[in-house]
């Protein structure tokens, strides 16, 4: 993970946006922490987040959860658009960015100001990776998501695509259209397409990691062992306050 920027006294500098950020939003006096969990469907994100919330709340920390497609502003419209698969890629990309910005300004930032620990089930990295796989310009994406707040920690759950297929099928007996990247036309066989798409997504995440620095968590391990690793890292993060 990228070390938080420190000044000469070794004190953590105030947090920052990736780019110019959100107009009229100062970042002083933000007391909370933003923790992001990234990874494909079936990588164990929601299981681990549920466990973290349990643990954090029992330890006396207030938490808030956010995730993709959960904004008041556009979530239902976005859902509808995806069902029909009628949006072109730039439109879908901007629609997701709107959803993200709405949650950032109306949920994440106010919660952080109030001292909450915000757990994000996916963040801008998934949105960027999806668009990169679909051939969108990286500089364009970097500018677009210059509004995003840099999290205190990003955990990327890495699981082999072959293992992801098994987990998704065991859970739903089917593969999700979008998580299989069927819109890309890699293959008409959903199984093949899923593996190809998830492999491309992992490559995109590794590329993003160079600029954004995530902690890679080996998601092939047992649930309990992953939880222990996360707790240890988050405990250190909270102690650094």
């Amino acid at each position: 993970m990228k070390k938080p920027a420190t000044n000469s006294d070794g004190v953590k500098k105030c947090r920052r946006f990736y780019g110019h950020g959100i107009p009229h939003v100062p970042l002083e006096d933000i007391a909370g922490k933003l923790i992001v969990v990234e990874g494909a469907d079936g990588s164990g994100r929601s299981t681990q987040i549920a466990r973290l919330v349990d643990w954090l709340e029992t330890s006396g920390h207030a938490t808030v959860q956010v995730g993709l497609k959960r904004s008041t502003l556009v979530s239902s419209e976005l859902e509808k658009a995806q069902e029909g698969n009628i949006l072109s890629r730039t439109t879908l990309s901007l629609f997701y960015a709107t959803d993200f910005a709405d949650q950032l300004e109306n949920v994440i930032l106010p919660a952080l100001k109030a001292g909450f620990i915000v757990l994000a089930d996916r963040y801008v990295y998934t949105l960027m990776a999806r668009d990169m796989v679909r051939g969108m310009d990286e500089a364009w994406l970097k500018n677009l998501y210059g509004i995003a707040l840099e999290p205190d920690a990003v955990f990327y759950f890495s699981v082999e695509p072959q293992e992801l297929v098994q987990r998704n099928l065991a859970k739903n007996a089917s593969l999700d259209y979008w998580e299989s990247g069927m819109d890309l036309g890699f293959s008409r066989d959903m199984f093949d397409s899923f593996v190809k798409y998830q492999t491309a997504m992992q490559a995109a995440f590794h590329k993003l990691r160079k600029n954004y620095g995530f902690t890679i968590v080996d998601g092939n391990r047992p649930v309990g062992s992953i939880t222990r690793e996360l707790r240890k890292k988050i405990r250190a993060l909270l102690a650094a306050k």
Binding site: L73, K80, S88, T90, T91, T98, E105
Partner: protein, 249 residues
């Protein structure tokens, strides 16, 4: 950034820009009527009109949920949807596309709301520039009076009330529109706006618009060749029917 002509599109895009109440919508409507009468393949697209995004935008506006950032992004989403689904294919097939407001509206309005100019322009850099942009410049007072006469109740975002410029919607609207005009004027030269004197009579302006368009574009190139052919299955039947009717008469 290049124009559609520079990108070798067979179609051409004409945009109108200006403050609310500058008369730009009337002018582009009359331009459309003329082009249609000339037999030109023409399509009209309005700012903030994509069906899909509309419900989110109106919800956001009604419930005052929008921030400068989400206001900007949701309009960009609307634009991208119209651009990719309608504008690009039509321009590829040789249409003249008329846009009531184009990316310059976002460049002016979102920046007045506080978004960083580079961020806004970066988001819209997937769009090509219009081949011709008319900017309708009326005196601020003229525009304000036109709006305030016709529609005395100003909407929250329209009046720029989210910027807290004034508690009085009318005063807020005046300041907001004044700032947007400043932004437009600052980008006018860079984007080759044809600045129209919108204080003039409607007819006089329209005559000039038509003259400029016909000078800049060879309209014959955009005409449909003959009427649309009927589907082959229907054609002979219809002719037979017509012949029968003729006989009966």
């Amino acid at each position: 950034m290049k124009t559609f002509a520079e990108l070798n599109f067979p179609g051409r895009l004409i945009a109108v820009e200006g403050l609310d109440g500058s008369g730009k919508s009337t002018q582009i409507y009359l331009l459309k009527r003329w082009l249609e009468a000339e037999g030109v393949k023409v399509y009209f697209s309005e700012w903030n009109s994509s069906e899909l995004v509309k419900s989110a935008t109106s919800k956001g506006k009604k419930r005052e949920l929008l921030t400068p950032t989400t206001f900007s992004l949701i309009h960009a989403t609307d634009f991208a949807d119209r651009y990719e689904r309608h504008l690009l294919p039509l321009l590829r097939s040789g249409y003249i596309v008329l846009c009531d407001r184009y990316i310059f509206t976002a460049f002016a309005r979102d920046v007045v709301r506080g978004c960083l100019p580079e961020w806004v322009r970066g988001i819209y850099n997937f769009a090509a520039l219009p081949d011709t942009t008319f900017f309708f410049k009326a005196d601020l007072e003229v525009s304000l009076n036109r709006i305030l006469e016709g529609r005395p109740k100003l909407k929250f975002f329209e009046a720029g009330m989210d910027l807290h410029l004034s508690n009085d919607p009318y005063e807020s609207f005046r300041i907001f529109q004044g700032r947007i005009l400043e932004q437009y004027m600052a980008m006018s030269a860079k984007f080759n706006f044809i600045v129209m004197d919108a204080n003039q009579h409607v007819e006089k302006q329209q005559a000039l618009v038509r003259k400029i368009v016909s000078e800049r574009m060879d309209l014959a190139r955009f005409k449909r060749r003959g009427p649309l052919p009927l589907p082959p299955a229907i054609q002979p039947d219809n002719k037979a029917k017509e012949a029968e009717e003729d006989l009966a008469a």
